[in-house]
């Protein structure tokens, strides 16, 4: 138990002695230096342990033997210890990071560093305002001086700007302190109360507060900070951005009790504005460190806002929110700044060197995900609770601004991430040298981020371990990543089946139904991935993460558990999509839309009333009446995931660019997660229907999605893109059927979901096989493959019949159910549009099978073989499934009927194989037999009477007096429906694409014009500060 004052005195003493010590060798001085820093960490660590876990009372140190206010007192409570532990640890690690620099440069670097630490520790502990000024000056001056460790033009000019800005801020601080003293006769925070101030006296508090606030870099008075972040050495910057910021943030926390509420409100809003605009401007940033600067400034704004808005919350919640943001931001930021120093690339485009450097890439990924506020990292929980709290406080504008800002942040951070993984190959690949001294601190911090997320999940929320499974899966697979991919694939298959068995005793049929889609569907699709050669590093981890998240959606009990799994699902699918060769843009689009959807859902869940029972969410939500706003937000969130019209543009890109054995998962299963969510909203909605009929409009969106998707699919040249739009169209049917909110409607929605899972998986796997053999997805480059890949052809044939809804296959059941439900509900025009959509679907279905398998075989495909067995197996499993439910519709209709009956009165009668609705009837079994009969009879007839048949060569066709030149000119495939496009005229234009493109352009140019504020001129920055003070002064209404 060392008196904490020694942290100050030891460092100070060592700082002064170092000059002498250095005379006997740099080694010794370095030893002393790191020794002192470690000792600081140790002392504070011990105190933190005592204060937190042993309930030691807060330590108050009176200097000069008098108690306050006569003397200056220092205080070390739990909060101080927390901040100091963090600051000293970061300082120590930063020093380790700077080891090389410290070894080579002048001893003054070490001394300044120690003095800076004194400043930080003193600033946090002192309770005296003037003492605070002194420590902050010590901190600032040593920091300014540390900047000169690298003497480049940029760092020096940035340092100069930093100094004059800091000088102005400290002038305000000093004036504030003296005026406070003038009005209260006191300088000790413990003895100053709001009541002591007259009206005029508020000016003094204002000056003090604004000075601290300026140091926290509010927008737009923060140009100087950006320059510092960009120009100064990574090691020093991480100290400035993290250690200094933490200390100043804590100063703000300390003076908060003497600030009047209206100041706090203004500062809170200013924080939110800072967060929003910095992230907006970050969109245009190409320089890695400056980008981190924008993010850093924004995060500090968010931190301040969260502190102010959560002041009145219970302590533990406040700690989670503010502490979560604090840790999350500062640790991630320090780590990322360190990584910029390791990579040494300024332009984001050059970061693709990371591609070849797995350890660094992993660290980079962890820190980036943490910074962006994805689970399981601290920022996620903080954001969730913060949004919830703001929503409860009806601060919707703040919520909107923060979430939009976060979205911008996600965009620029992940643009960086995707560039690092997928950037252009052109730049030269020089391997990055990984110095131990630089990697060590980064690794430690990445480790701490993970540790904290574990702690939060374990102690704060007490999750079922099932919810950690997605992350565990990634870790475990990473451990066994050296195994060949086939073994990992089989293990994954076993894991998925075991998982299914584990969660099997499910509470309800509806879970079971989606469980079959999610788990069994995934398991069969995994067979397709067994075709992978080599090791496929990381692939199965992400795949398992995604599949387990699907499953966890089913067993989630609280909103948070559901949302957690949802986010895990988003992350894993994003990374899976990103594995595709040219998937950078596609995965970005997916992530942006998913994140936006997730934020809407977050607000939606926050608006939702508390759950009353402890059942799984999909059951207990029926007892909850969602407010209209929550219903709308949640629906939009889920509809983004299911690719509804207007927000579908991520869908074709993601499907097309993902690896070909990943696409079936995305299309057949991931989209169903959106369906599951929408059904969940519907369950609450039917029990508590509000006056405004939201689902009527959702129904229209679904219907329009179906028709637009079908048209877009028909005009594609890329097979996977075609299938993607087809999925969009099919899910449009499903969404529309859910929106009907009737027994028949839900029956059709689930029936079609199940069907779609099977036929779209099989189709995508078939295309994967074709791609594997021909190396192209462009349909007109293929043709005639029926002769080479007959098994794939048969599978595609059966599946397109199933998609199209032609009897006798199960697709007709879906169509029959859908039209019956629409007419029954009275949605006539919608039914008409769906008829149209189903007609149009013939266009793309014919196109995909014709252009690939029929027509003229290309020369280059003369030696193509049948798709590998691993692709064939799952296709035929699905064929068996389709055939089974076509022959015996009761297999599926009966269970679905019982599920839908849970929510509505049954509207169908099942008699034998005949299913009757109020409108009509259908006997799938008989239809199958009749069809088989009418098919077999002519077949036998033809075989008997057509015995003289001869086979002919490829070009032996009736061609008016000339011989066709080549398969290319003879195969009608390119732009097959040109005439239809022509017929549609202006209706065929991709307006939604244009719309989102405009949105993107507009926000980027807005970002660009706002950042023109930062002229680079130090004087402008001072002007900003002064103007800012004046504006805030008037707004606060002192």
């Amino acid at each position: 138990m060392v008196n904490p004052i020694y942290i100050l005195t030891l460092s100070l003493a060592a700082g002064f002695l170092l000059t002498l010590i250095d005379k006997s060798g740099r080694k010794l001085s370095l030893t002393v230096f790191y020794g002192i820093l470690s000792l600081n960490v140790f002392i504070i660590g011990e105190w933190f342990y005592r204060l937190t876990f042993l309930n030691t009372p807060t330590v108050i140190i009176n200097t000069a033997g008098f108690s306050a206010p006569l003397s200056i007192n220092l205080q070390l409570g739990m909060q101080e210890a927390f901040v100091l532990l963090f600051a000293n640890l970061t300082a120590l690690l930063s020093a380790v990071y700077l080891f090389k620099k410290f070894k080579e440069t002048h001893i003054s670097g070490l001394i300044l560093y120690l003095i800076m630490i004194v400043g930080v520790n003193g600033l946090v502990m002192t309770r005296d305002l003037f003492n605070m000024f002194v420590f902050s000056e010590i901190l600032s001056i040593s920091t300014y001086a540390l900047i000169t460790l690298t003497e480049t033009k940029k760092s020096l000019s940035a340092g100069f700007k930093y100094m004059i800005a800091g000088g102005i801020a400290s002038t305000f601080f000093l004036l504030g302190v003296t005026f406070i003293y003038y009005f209260t006769g006191n300088l000790n925070l413990d003895f100053i109360h709001l009541g002591n101030f007259s009206n005029l006296g508020f000016i003094s508090i204002f000056l003090l507060a604004i000075a601290v606030f300026i140091e926290l870099k509010p927008f737009p008075a923060n140009g100087w900070a950006l320059d510092v972040y960009e120009a100064v050495d990574s090691g020093i910057v991480s100290v400035i951005a993290v250690v200094n910021s933490a200390a100043i943030f804590f100063v703000f926390y300390k003076i908060m009790p003497i600030l009047p509420q209206n100041f706090l409100n203004v500062f809170g809003i200013a924080g939110v504005i800072t967060f929003f605009f910095s992230n907006l401007m970050g969109l245009k940033q190409k320089n890695a460190k400056r980008l981190l600067g924008y993010s850093s400034i924004g995060q500090i704004g968010l931190l301040v806002a969260s502190l102010i808005f959560t002041m009145h919350l219970p302590r533990s919640l406040m700690y989670l929110i503010v502490g979560g943001f604090f840790f999350n931001h500062l640790i991630a930021k320090a780590g990322l700044f360190w990584i910029t120093g390791i990579v040494k690339k300024e332009n984001l485009k050059d970061w693709n060197v990371l591609k070849n450097n797995k350890p660094l890439l992993v660290l980079f990924g962890i820190l980036l995900f943490a910074l962006a506020g994805f689970p399981p990292f601290a920022g996620f929980w903080a954001k969730w609770e913060f949004v919830k709290m703001l929503v409860h406080g009806k601060m919707f504008f703040v919520v909107g601004t923060i979430l939009l800002g976060s979205l911008f942040e996600v965009i620029f951070l992940f643009r960086w991430f995707t560039l690092s993984i997928k950037g252009d190959e052109k730049t030269e690949h020089k391997n990055i040298s990984l110095e131990l001294s630089k990697m060590f601190p980064t690794t430690i911090f990445a480790g701490i981020t993970i540790l904290i997320s574990v702690l939060i999940m374990k102690f704060f929320y007490d999750f079922n371990w099932l919810h950690a499974l997605p992350v565990l899966a990634v870790l475990i697979i990473n451990v066994i990543d050296f195994l060949p991919s086939k073994i990992k694939g089989i293990l994954s298959l076993a894991a998925v089946l075991t998982y299914g068995y584990l969660i099997y005793p499910l509470e309800s049929n509806i879970q079971l139904f989606f469980g079959i889609i999610f788990i069994i569907g995934s398991a069969i699709n995994i067979i397709g991935t067994l075709n992978r050669k080599g090791k496929s590093e990381g692939f199965y981890g992400l795949l398992l993460m995604m599949i387990f998240s699907f499953g966890n959606l089913l067993v989630a009990i609280t909103y948070l558990e559901f949302f957690l799994s949802w986010e895990f699902m988003t992350i894993s699918s994003f990374l899976l999509i990103l594995r595709g060769k040219k998937a950078q843009k596609a995965s970005m689009l997916y992530l942006i839309f998913s994140t936006a959807g997730a934020y809407l859902m977050m607000v939606g869940f926050s608006l939702a009333p508390d759950l009353v029972s402890n059942s799984v969410l999909i059951l207990s939500i029926s007892n909850v009446s969602l407010p209209i706003a929550a219903t709308i937000l949640l629906s939009i969130g889920f509809m983004i995931k299911s690719g509804s019209l207007g927000v579908h543009i991520w869908l074709p890109e993601a499907h097309a660019e993902a690896e070909s054995d990943v696409s079936p998962f995305i299309s057949a299963i991931l989209l169903k997660a959106g369906v599951f969510g929408l059904l969940m909203v519907g369950i609450s909605y039917i029990k508590h229907t509000p006056s405004f009929d939201i689902f009527y409009w959702i129904g229209w969106i679904g219907v329009l999605t179906a028709i637009v998707g079908a048209f877009l699919a028909s005009f594609q040249e890329d097979a996977k893109r075609l299938l993607a739009y087809s999925s969009m169209s099919q899910v449009g049917y499903i969404v529309a059927s859910i929106a009907i909110l009737s027994h028949l409607g839900w029956l059709s929605a689930m029936y079609l979901s199940f069907n779609h899972m099977m036929f779209k998986s099989a189709l995508f796997i078939a295309i994967a096989g074709v791609y594997y053999r021909t190396h192209t997805r462009t349909m007109y480059e293929m043709g005639g493959l029926i002769k080479k890949m007959p098994l794939s052809f048969i599978s595609v044939l059966i599946m397109i019949i199933a998609v199209s809804g032609v009897p006798p296959l199960s697709g007709f059941g879906a169509k029959w159910l859908i039209y019956s439900s629409f007419i029954e509900k009275g949605w006539y025009l919608q039914a008409g549009v769906l008829f149209f959509a189903s007609g149009v679907s013939f266009l793309y279905l014919y196109r995909i099978i014709h252009t690939i398998f029929l027509g003229q075989l290309k020369y280059e495909h003369q030696n193509v073989k049948e798709a590998p067995i691993w692709f064939i197996i799952p296709q035929y499993i699905f064929i068996i499934g389709i055939m089974a439910i076509s022959m015996f519709p009761n297999l599926i209709i009966q269970p679905l009927n019982s599920i839908a009956m849970r929510y509505f009165n049954s509207s169908i009668i099942i008699d034998g194989y005949t299913i009757s609705s109020s409108l009509g009837y259908w006997n799938g079994n008989l239809v199958m037999y009749v069809t088989m009969g009418v098919f077999v009879v002519p077949l036998i007839f033809l075989m008997l009477f057509n015995g003289r048949m001869q086979k002919v060569k490829q070009f032996n066709i009736v061609y008016a007096a000339e011989r066709p030149e080549s398969p290319q000119t003879t195969h009608v495939a390119h732009n097959m429906y040109a005439h239809y496009r022509k017929a549609l005229g202006g209706w065929g234009k991709p307006r939604i694409w244009d719309f989102w493109h405009e949105v993107s352009e507009w926000s980027h140019s807005l970002a660009d014009s706002i950042r023109q504020l930062y002229t680079g001129n130090g004087q402008t920055y001072i002007l900003h500060i002064i103007m800012y003070v004046i504006v805030i002064y008037f707004i606060s209404g002192v």
């Binding site: 003037f130 000024f133 002194v134 000056e137 600032s140 001056i141 300014y144 001086a145 000169t148 003497e151 480049t152 033009k153 940029k154 020096l156 000019s157 940035a158 340092g159 100069f160 100094m163 004059i164 000088g167 102005i168 002038t171 000093l174 004036l175 302190v177 003296t178 005026f179 003293y181 003038y182 300088l187 140009g223 950006l226 320059d227 960009e230 120009a231 401007m281 245009k284 940033q285 660009d1008 950042r1011 023109q1012 930062y1014 002229t1015 680079g1016 001129n1017 130090g1018 004087q1019 001072i1022 002007l1023 002064i1026």
Partner: protein, 117 residues
């Protein structure tokens, strides 16, 4: 003392004006030191009460009534510290100016704005 207070504020504003308008780095530092001086004058003026003497206990001050006869010593103590700190900052600024000049041969702040946006 109201006049010195006003004087302090005027100097502060003139200093700021100088920092904002002058392109020469040294002039900016001069502006900063004027701001500093202005601040110090403000602080001292606040501590001053007319008719009282310096907080030095000598023969002119009655020991028993010392607290009533002398001005508040704390502002003076603050200013003393602030003056020293001000010097340090000014010196550091000037060292930056020297280094900048040695590297780039220019004293105009306009030549140091490639970091922007």
């Amino acid at each position: 003392m109201i006049f010195s207070l006003i004087l302090g504020f005027l100097l502060l504003i003139i200093g700021l004006y100088g920092m904002l308008t002058q392109k020469n780095l040294i002039k900016i530092v001069i502006g900063f030191s004027i701001v500093d001086t202005g601040t110090h004058i403000i602080i001292v003026s606040i501590g001053y009460l007319s008719g009282k003497t310096a907080p030095i206990l000598d023969s002119t001050v009655d020991l028993a009534n010392a607290a009533k006869q002398v001005v508040d010593p704390i502002p003076s103590a603050l200013v003393l510290t602030a003056i020293v700190i001000g010097l340090a900052v000014t010196a550091l600024m000037l060292s930056f100016v020297i280094k900048l000049y040695q590297k780039n041969k220019s004293l105009s702040i306009d030549d140091y704005q490639e970091l922007k946006w």
